[in-house]
């Protein structure tokens, strides 16, 4: 049994035999080999009528460091690892990927193995400093702000505001 695609359900089935046995209950999937096998199916007579199964960005070397390729299963395809009835784990190597997102649940668990380097946070769509200031002012103007006055014109304020002890500067008699 080889890697196959059910074109009706868009389920990609990975047979256990296609995985490398690491230890009892632990298998390894070379994600790059996996996507190349998918490409081979895509350009076959059967596959030519259907959309791509995945998107691939190759390895990139920067400052002597080779960043791994990534593989993304797309267009509604999902992945099923062969369920043999005995639970086992698949460790993914060779690429960052989204198999965890598209894997069909069964007795097979997945060690994704993705590793992120520097990531990019989306910018440009958040509020600017001016936006924040304006919003703050608007909010302040829209409400009454409780104030606990302690000093006025540089001098401390004393008293509790009652008739017997009115607000006043230090040294001023009630």
């Amino acid at each position: 049994m080889a890697l196959s695609i059910n074109w009706a359900t868009k389920v990609i089935t990975v047979p256990q035999a296609d995985l490398s046995l690491i230890s009892a209950g632990l298998y390894q999937l070379d994600v790059d080999a996996f996507r190349l096998a998918l490409k081979d199916i895509e350009d076959s007579e059967d596959g030519m009528g259907f959309p791509d199964t995945h998107r691939h960005n190759t390895e990139v070397t920067l400052s002597g460091v080779t960043y791994s390729r990534f593989v993304e299963i797309i267009n509604g395809y999902t992945v099923t690892f062969q369920d043999t009835g005995t639970p086992y784990t698949v460790k993914c190597v060779g690429a960052n990927h989204n198999l965890g997102d598209v894997k069909n649940v069964n007795n097979v668990s997945l060690i994704v193995g993705n590793s992120a380097g520097l990531i990019t946070v989306a910018t440009g769509s958040g509020p600017t400093a001016v936006d924040i200031a304006n919003a703050l002012v608007a909010a302040l103007q829209a409400t009454q702000i409780p104030v606990d006055a302690k000093r006025m014109n540089g001098a401390a304020i004393i008293g509790d505001g009652s008739e017997s002890d009115p607000w006043r500067g230090v040294g001023v008699q009630p």
């Binding site: 059910n6 081979d40 895509e42 350009d43 076959s44 007579e45 059967d46 009528g49 190759t58």
Partner: protein, 567 residues
Amino acid sequence: MSIGTDFEIQSDKDIRYIGAAHGASGAGYYSVLELHRWLQSLADDASSSGDDLMDMSKDTPSERAYDTIITLQNGYNIDATAAEHLYGGSIIQDGGDEVYDGVQVIAGAGAHVEVIQNGALVANDFWNSTPFGASAKGLNPDTANGISQRFIFLVRTGGADIDGRRLLLQTREFGYTYSEFKINGTSRGVNVAALVYADDLNNDTASGTVAGWSDVTNLSEGYNGIDANADSTSEYYYSKWDKGSRTIGQLYERLKYLTRRGTSETLYGLNGELFRGITHEVNLTTPRAGTFSAYEAVSWAGGTGQMLAINSAAAGTKLWLQLLTGVAPTNGQTITGGTSGATTTCSGSPVERTLSFPFCGLSTGSAIIGAYGLGIEASDLSVSDKVFDLTNTLISPPNQVTFNVNGLISAGEADSVLVGPADGGGALDTTQFTLNGALTGAAVTSVVVNEAIPADTPSSGTLRIVRANGAHSKHAYSAYNAGTKTFTITSHNFSSNNAANGAGAYLTYIDKVAAASTEGFTTIFSSTRDLFVRVRNGGSSPIKSFETLAQLTSTGGSVTAIRTSDA
């Protein structure tokens, strides 16, 4: 020189030319009236002198009916050489048993004129000689009046007209326009032949180059069915020319080359120089016997011809011929095949067909307007071309357009390419058709769909059908019937993986592993069609899927695959 020095009158009454030869200094040419005047001037002399044995004691040598009709009488005569130096009328001699009639050619200066008499090319074309000191060929020209040649020509000898005194004059200079003028029996005096001799702007390739275009061939000489207008019904022609790797304009040049002056090519058993095309369409009836060849010489009482096509070799009801000598057959005459010996009977009056010059028709450079009955392979014709079948019906070829996908890799692990209908949303339209009835048989050969089959569907190709397991199986179809909406496919077993009633199906105009760097398909343009193009290669040097939308327009279309490595 004068006529007196160029001619002599011998004692046996032979009047002979003794001057310089054509093209040499001093060669003399005289009108028939000048000859008569000269003879008469001698005939009243008291005694003859020099080499002219003519004086009052001799019989009257000539008589003038008109300035252009001179009769040599009492045994006086000219010979062929003397005749070559006379023009401007007729010479009648030997009691009327021998006649030279005058011919005057109206054509551009320098025209090389050929004369065909009694079905054969006249080899001694002295009239094309270039006079001494002249820059253009042609004896006795009168350029100011558009006359390129004047001469006299033997049309009666031994008391019998030569082929009824019929002459066919033609110009077939490669690079120039071709023309012909038929004198259907010369008259006494001067017979005028109007010809055309001008540059052919659509024939500007050097003769030596065209000589090498041997891939232009006539696939079948004789009666040919060709569906030139792609209406699924063949029209009939007398040829099936294949332009090979040439353009339609080059086909025109090649056909001119085959029939040019001096050619050694043979068409339908005739030397190319004599080939003219169909002159007559002859209805046939019983009695008939034997089997005619596809083309052959034929004869009947009063004429001969070259049969170029017959609609049935053994039971023909029509044949088409080029008249060579005499007149066309008449009702009830027996026509006999010169090679086959088969016979048939002419019914009614033959229809005389209009000739084209050259025989293939006219060229615009990029299109051809074919002569009557000239057949060209349907695949070699474009919408700009016109042809006429043997019923003389104008046939307009459809607009055959080609869509190409370029930039493919065909060596080693080749690219896979698929071109199908687009769905309007940027994807492949997998429901271009829906099945009318489930496909469940073990040997299915017909696929019926609910939707109309588009007019631009190729006559053969591939069809994909959505199967029960979701796969889109590919099936070659060899034909389709637009009326019944049925494709005829290669027998296929659908029993184990059905295609349900209403399941999708779609044409794949290209659906293959590339065998060349360009793959394409040709079809008849109907209206602009949106196409979806996909190129993949998942081999050892994989590429990212190339997908794009394209259009098949009235001029075809193309895309170039962008092959981006996906290693």
